[in-house]
Every structure is written in C-alpha cells, then in structure tokens.
C-alpha cells in the first residue's frame, strides 16, 4: 500500500488556505441526506459532532460513559496552547509550529503541525464565545502561563481544570444539537465493529452496555475519536474506561496504525503503592517550577528510608542528590518530561529510590517555602497538595512529596493523511486516537489544542471534501450482508470470550500484561527486552483465550465482559508497540533505546535512517503485521539534536 499524505501544494503557510479554497463543498439541501457517525465525545469527538450538526449533517454520536461530559478529556489539568501572542512575548504561528515539531523530536508531519498552529487561535475565540471561564487578569483580559518546552507564555487555563471546562463547552454545544435534532446521541454504548462496504467505511456495530444488545448503524462517513491507548500498561494516568478497541477494529479493517511505540511517560505521578492499585494520579507538571527533585546520595540512607527507619527530613542537605540540577544545570528540574522520567528511573534502578517499593523520588518544596513562604506555595499548589494528602496521607508542606513516572499519553495512533482520513476511505480519526501532530513526544497543553483543532476546524472542512462525492449514495438499512456479517463477527467474539470459562480474572491478566509493558516496553527499551516482550505478550494472548474467567452472559450489563473485550485489544496493541519499538533503532522523544544514547546517557536520534512514520498493516489473526513507511521531509524546520544541559 502506498501511503499518500495528500499534502496540499504551495508554501507551508499557504497550504491550508489553498486547501480550503479548492476543496469540494456540499450544499445545504444535500447535507440533510448525509449521515456521519462520530465515535467518542471527548474534546475531539464532541467538537466534531457538534460542528457537523450545526452544519446540517445528520450525526450519530456514541460514548461508553453515561454522559458525553465524562469523556477522559475532562481530566486534563494544565491548559491549552494557542499562538495568540497576547502577552506580546514574541509568539507567533510559526513559533508554535516550530516548537511542536522540535518538541516532537522531528517525527511529525510539518504541514499538519503548521495547520494546527494556525487554527489554535480560533479555538480560544470559540471557547470564550461558548462561555469557557478561562483565567483572567485584573484588566479583564485573558491570562497566560508558560509550560515545559516553550520560551513564551502561550497556555490558556481555567484553574487546574482546563480540560473540564473545554469539554463542558464542547458538550454543551453538542447537547444544543441534540436538542435541535441534528445529533442522535447514544450513551453507554460501545462501538465493537466497523462496517466496510465496497472498500469504504459505511457504519458501525454498537453494543448497548446496559442491555448487551447489538445494533447496526449506517453512515456515509465514520469518525473515530476514542482517545489514547495508555491503559495497555494497566496502570496509567488515563481513566479506567480509556481503551484502544476502536483503533484495533479500524486496524483490523485495513487502517494503518502509526508509531504505536511513541508513548509519553509523565515524570510527576503519585507512585504505585500496592498490588490493589487501579490507576495512577498525575500531579501537575507545574509543581516542578517550585519543587526540587532529589534522592539520597548514600545507598544506606535510601535503604533505611525504604525500611522506614529513616525519614527524608532527617537527611542532611549535603547527603541529598539533586540529580536533575546536577546533570542538567541549565534546565535543572524543568527538563522535558522524557528526560526527567528517565533520570528518575536511572536513580531508582541504581538503588537510590525511596518509598516502600524503592520506586519513587522526592519532590521537595522546603527551599521554596523558605524563600517564598508557605502562603505563596499554598496559593499556587494548595489543591494539588490537598489531593496528594488525601491519597498518600502525608503533608507535603512538611515532608517531601514522592513521585514516579507513569504512562500518560500516546502519540502513536491511527495513521491519517492531511484530511485526517485513514487508509480506509470514509474512515477518519481525530484527537489522541490519530498519530498526527506530536511526533515522538507531545508538549504540555498541546493535546487539548489538537483535539479541538481536529473537531472544530479541520474535519468540518475535510469531511465535506469526501462527502461531496457521496451525495448520490442512498442510506443503507442495515440489512445488507456486510452489516449482518459484521454484527455476527462482533457477537461471535463476545461469545468466544465467554466460552473460555477459565480461572483468571480480566484484571489479573491485564496486570500481567501491564508489567511486561512497563518492564520491557516502558521508559527504557532494548533489543533483547523487546524480543522477550513480544514472546511474553504472545503467551499472555494464549493465556487469555484459554484461561480468562467471565461470569454471566452477553445479555444485560456485564462489566467483566466489556473489560475482557478491551483487554484482548490491548494485547494486540502491546504487541504492536513492542514490534514498533524493536524496529526503531534510535532514541527519540518518548522512545528510548538503550543502545542509542550518548556517553552522558542522552537520547540519540538516527535521522538518516529513521525520519519516517512507521505504519503497521494488519495481515490477519495469525500473521505478524507488516510495516510501511511514510517518509518525513522537513522543508522549513532545521533538524537538530535536543540539548537541555
């Protein structure tokens, strides 16, 4: 298969305008006869579905939660980037574009990222018009803060609840369309299969999570906006329901899965504290502005702390190793996420980790409190400190916080061209579900921007260009053979899982997968480990299909069955991640191969050989997937090694 990114002609800054000037449009009376399915109601899905409805298309929207407002986007804390340059600190569309490509370690497509930067300003305007209560200055204008990886202040925020407020804005717009009758909303409904007719995506099979009933839904085009697949690792900062199943359905129907191994590990999460743990909580990155990260200098101190015979506050200043400040004097505690994460792992692996498990480092506010006073620290981070205290039962004003890296975001996803169309005609992917804009590493506050850019300002144009050729395609009834077959296939999968009747619970198997992923496909990877991981994942797959234990039946609500079906897809994703990490013999962004590092332990890209997006194609249930390449060319950006020393 030839991967055609369909980048419009013209200079970078003119491409999007050229595209819009030349694309096909659908006239209003035809829009009414065209159906679009949007899977997911996070920032990407809700904004797309609402916009399509406003334009006059007939939309069906699906979410697995009980309300569109509960999509995982709700949990984003920090903020959203835009190139407004309100603070007049030299920001521009070009600079936001450049920072994003550089931050992604030169593994993203220039044209897409440039468009993202261009529409970023429209997003802020749109959200303000919806009533999103962004933070303001006393003069009444919008406030900005700075975020990692940028020298300008371009992040808009709403307290520590930016994702919540943006999603509520999009959700309200969506509900307005539900009220207007343009959007048909299906909550507690999971898409379990994509229907292809004559090579084009023409609908989905849905499973009602309350009744267990399967239904068929036709559309002229299908948009997947189902979020990321970080939960492959079992423990992550993602919500419990976040999953990669729709992506795997698309993959199995011929959509390429690009760069699956590009996953982001966030350095400041509350460490794992027990076997019963169900998820990891993110502590905002902003804490690194005032907290200093350290571990004991002496191994015996670290051991004593782990044995609970010594407290961190007992350790003298000269016996503390502020390893980030030591290794990266220029950026210190503010090095990018991947660098900070690996440095923590390095210290813990060397035996200097703290906490009961030895897998934690300290984030200490003592010197900031001394310098700025407790009140200032409280006003900046009070809610985070309280959250930490509730979870860990420890007061961070007195004892340093413990943190450890955790899986947070997946840059990889379904491959899309400039129009956000996958390799399956009529099937589009938006938000975290696609691979498009962040390369090998995502900058803070850029995921919210991308989700809303895709949904409000890109898809409403590009999907018309596709649908304009489809105005004569009549609606299908769902009785067509393709729909019947797809429903039967979906049902058969659920029946097959139930029929195993083994001895292990879904969570028990998922935890095993998570450990393999974390140990061998996590923060630091190497050839041997990855080969081992592929083998182990194969074994887990076999174990799943011979030994999983699910109570109940397919009818009615069956949460274990839902989880099992998602786990079977996580196993496929885990395998893809390991294979992709194995073939990428370089270190870049969130992907660190131990064989490819400088003498100081810094990531070493191999631009000559690996400046491509790795696109995996499904070859059937029992065959290994095959990789195709989309070569990346950089016409505007100058490739350089990152340096934070």
């Amino acid at each position: 298969m030839k991967l055609d990114s369909r980048i419009p002609q013209g200079p970078l800054a003119k491409k999007w305008e050229n595209y819009k000037n030349n694309q096909k449009l659908v006239n209003p009376s035809n829009k009414r006869n065209l159906d679009i399915i949007v899977v997911g109601t996070g920032l990407a899905g809700a904004s797309a579905a609402a916009s399509f409805g406003e334009m006059g298309f007939k939309v069906k929207s699906f979410t697995i939660q009980d309300s569109p407002r509960r999509a995982h986007s709700i949990a984003a804390q920090g903020g959203i980037n835009a190139a407004k340059n309100y603070p007049n600190d030299g920001d521009s569309v070009h600079r936001l574009f450049y920072d994003t490509v550089k931050g992604g370690d030169y593994r993203a497509r220039e044209a897409n990222v440039y468009r993202l930067a261009q529409v970023s300003n429209d997003i802020i305007d749109q959200c303000v018009a919806q009533g999103v209560p962004f933070a303001r200055e006393y003069g009444g204008l919008l406030d900005n803060r700075s975020f990692g990886g940028a020298q300008v202040s371009r992040t808009f925020y709403a307290k520590g609840q930016t994702g919540q407020q943006l999603l509520i804005g999009a959700y309200q717009s969506l509900m307005r369309q539900v009220n207007a009758g343009t959007v048909d909303l299906h909550t507690r409904t999971e898409i379990v299969e994509i229907v292809i007719v004559n090579g084009k995506a023409r609908g989905v099979i849905a499973r009602n999570l309350v009744t267990g009933e399967f239904t068929r839904h036709f559309a002229h085009a299908v948009v997947l906006a189902t979020g990321g697949y970080g939960n492959t690792f079992f423990l992550s900062t993602n919500a419990m329901g976040s999953n990669g199943s729709a992506l795997i359905k698309a993959f199995e129907k011929g959509a390429a899965f690009a760069n699956p191994c590009f996953a982001q590990i966030h350095p400041t999460c509350i460490p794992v504290h027990g076997e019963f743990q169900s998820k990891l909580t993110l502590m905002s990155e902003s804490l690194r502005n005032d907290g200093r990260i350290w571990v004991p200098k002496k191994k015996e101190d670290a051991e004593a702390i782990r044995a609970n015979t010594l407290k961190p506050t007992d350790i003298k200043e000269e016996d503390r190793d502020y390893y980030l400040e030591r290794r990266y004097p220029a950026f210190g505690n503010l090095v990018p996420r991947d660098v900070a994460s690996r440095a923590a792992k390095e210290r813990c692996d060397a035996g200097f980790g703290v906490g009961a498990t030895g897998l934690a480092v300290y984030l200490d506010f003592k010197s900031s409190i001394e310098r700025l006073g407790e009140e200032t620290i409280r006003s900046r981070y009070g809610n985070l400190f309280q959250m930490y205290d509730k979870i860990v039962d420890d007061n961070p004003y007195e004892t340093p916080m413990m943190i450890y890296p955790a899986i947070h975001y997946t840059m990889g996803g379904i491959w899309v061209d400039y129009e956000l169309q996958t390799t399956v005609p009529g099937l589009f992917a938006a938000g975290e579900a696609n691979f498009s804009d962040h390369g090998a590493n995502r900058l803070g506050a850029s995921a919210l921007m991308q989700g809303l850019a895709d949904g409000y300002f890109v898809l409403p144009y590009t999907i018309q260009n596709y649908l304009a050729d489809d105005i004569r395609t009549p609606r299908m009834t769902g009785e067509e053979k393709e729909f019947v077959d797809a429903e039967n296939a979906a049902k058969a999968k659920f029946e097959k899982i139930l029929a195993v009747k083994g001895n292990r619970t879904v969570d028990n198997l998922h935890k095993e997968l998570g450990l393999v992923m974390w140990d061998f496909v996590g923060m630091a990877r190497n050839k041997e480990g990855l080969q081992h991981a592929i083998e182990r994942i194969g074994e887990i797959k076999k174990e799943f299909w011979t030994n999983v234990k699910i109570p109940g039946t397919t009818s009615g609500m069956n949460v274990e069955l839902e989880k099992a079906s998602r786990l079977s897809d996580f196993i496929t994703i885990g395998d893809l991640m390991a294979r992709d990490a194995l073939q990428r013999e370089e270190s870049c962004g969130g992907h660190f191969r131990e064989e490819f590092q400088t003498e100081e332990g810094e990531a070493l890209r191999q631009d000559e050989a690996f400046a491509y997006a790795a696109c995996w194609m499904y070859q059937g249930e029992n065959n290994a997937p095959v990789m195709e390449k989309e070569d990346l060319t950089f016409d505007v950006v100058k490739i350089a090694q990152r340096n934070y020393k």
């Binding site: 209560p133 003069g139 407020q165 309350v210 169900s278 109940g552």
Partner: protein
C-alpha cells in the same frame, strides 16, 4: 506491620431497573487502609468473580474526582464520610477495622436504578440540552479578548462551572431537587457577557425541564451544598430565583 482492615459490607443489589432490589452482606479481609474505596470494591469484585458470583456494577471512570461518574451512597452520605471529595477520592483509612459499611445507589425519583449501584442520570443531560449553553455555532465568533470580563466575575463563573454533574445534590435532597445543579449552570453562564444574552430564557427552560423530568422542588434545606464534592454554593440557587425566575411572574 499489619494494619489491614476486615470489613462487613452491606450492599444494594438489583438486577435491572424493574427488578426488586435487596441488601446483600459480604465480608472482606485484608483491605489495606491505603487503598481507595473503589479499589476496595475492585478487590471485592475480584473475590466474587473467583467465587463464581456476579460482581457488583458501579459507575466510575477517572478516579480522581473530576468526571463525576462515581456515585455511591456510603453509610447514609453521598460520596461517603469525608468532606469535599467524590467517592473515588475516598480512602479506606477513613474506616475502622471490623466496621460495617452500607453501600447504596443514589436514591431519587429523577435517577432510576439501572443495575446494583448504577443509576440513570441522563436527566442532567436533558436539562443541559434544554438550554444550558450559549447559542453560538463553530466559527464566526469575535476575538477572545474583544470583551474584557472583570476578574471577579470570571472567577465566580469558574466556581459555578466546576460542577461535575455527579448528582450528589439530588441524592442528598429529601425532595430530590436538582436546583443546585441547574443553578450552577445558570450562574456560570449568566455571569459572563457571552451567556448573559440568553440568561432568562435559559433559566426558564432548564427549570421547566427539571420539573418535567420528575425532580422535586427546592425548599432550601441546604443539604445539597453540604454534600456537593465541589463546594457549589446555594448562593447560586438564590441568584437563580432572584434574577431569573422572578421574570416568570412578569410574563
């Protein structure tokens, strides 16, 4: 060092919306006080599956107090014994060894039970659909800084907007009223110039939708404010009544 808890759990079970529900009693040992309440529920479910019994259905997703999905009535209080948090943020160290914990779904006419501890809160979505938005479509809006908004107004709107739509207010209210939820949305939008334009119409349609869906009347008991995990103030209800519903009398 073993400070693990042994617990007796009295939990509401109900097969589906139509079935008659009942309490069942379970015992659970070796629960770490560091685990969260929902992790305790996970452990119980794992045990039930291993014993070939049906696990409990309960709603949850983010597990960090922001999605509004979790919804348990624990020992007679929505979101349990701790203040200003959601069920998913509750930890087992709040409970004593040997304690009996009673766990029920939200109980309210507006929130029918779907299964076990899961209720149907789609009424909230319908109330929002009735008018909880500004009527702007994508594109063609003014620059974000075109209208300055006084910081105190923006901050107050933000406070009202932090409602997570969990429904604890309804569950706590003896009348089953959704006024705290509705007033939070009305206030959030009315406090901003972008939302002020439609404020009266919005308030009226949201309140009448609430009535239509079988949520009760507000008699100012204040129970909602006490149980709201996000500290939404009943001052919002006063604002709604004062500024918008009095308009009803005028027309």
């Amino acid at each position: 060092m073993d400070n693990n808890l042994s617990l007796t759990l009295k939990i509401w079970r109900q097969n589906d919306a139509k079935a008659k529900g009942r309490f069942e009693t379970y015992s659970l040992d070796k629960v770490s006080p560091d685990s969260s309440f929902l992790e305790m529920m996970d452990i119980l479910n794992e045990q039930l599956v291993n014993e070939d019994k049906e696990p409990l259905a309960f709603d949850h997703d983010c597990r960090e107090g922001i999605c509004g999905m979790c919804s348990l009535y624990i020992n007679g209080r929505p979101h349990g014994p701790d203040d200003d948090i959601t069920t998913c943020q509750l930890h087992m160290r709040r409970f004593k060894d040997g304690e009996t914990i009673t766990i029920e779904p939200w109980r309210s006419a507006g929130f029918p039970v779907i299964k076990d501890l899961i209720v149907n809160r789609s009424g909230f979505d319908q109330i929002i659909a009735a008018g909880g938005y500004t009527s702007v479509s994508t594109g063609g809006v003014p620059d974000a800084n075109a209208i300055p908004i006084p910081k105190p107004d923006a901050d107050e709107a933000m406070d009202a907007a932090s409602c997570i739509g969990c429904g604890a207010c309804v569950a706590a209210c003896k009348n089953g009223s959704a006024m705290l939820f509705v007033s939070a949305k009305v206030s959030h939008l009315a406090l901003l110039p972008q939302g002020k334009v439609e404020a009266v119409r919005r308030a009226k349609s949201m309140v009448s939708k609430m009535d239509e869906l079988g949520f009760g009347n507000c008699t100012n008991t204040g129970a909602c404010e006490v149980e709201c995990p996000k500290g939404i103030s009943i001052a919002n209800i006063a604002r709604l009544n004062r500024e918008y519903l009095c308009a009803k009398i005028q027309d």
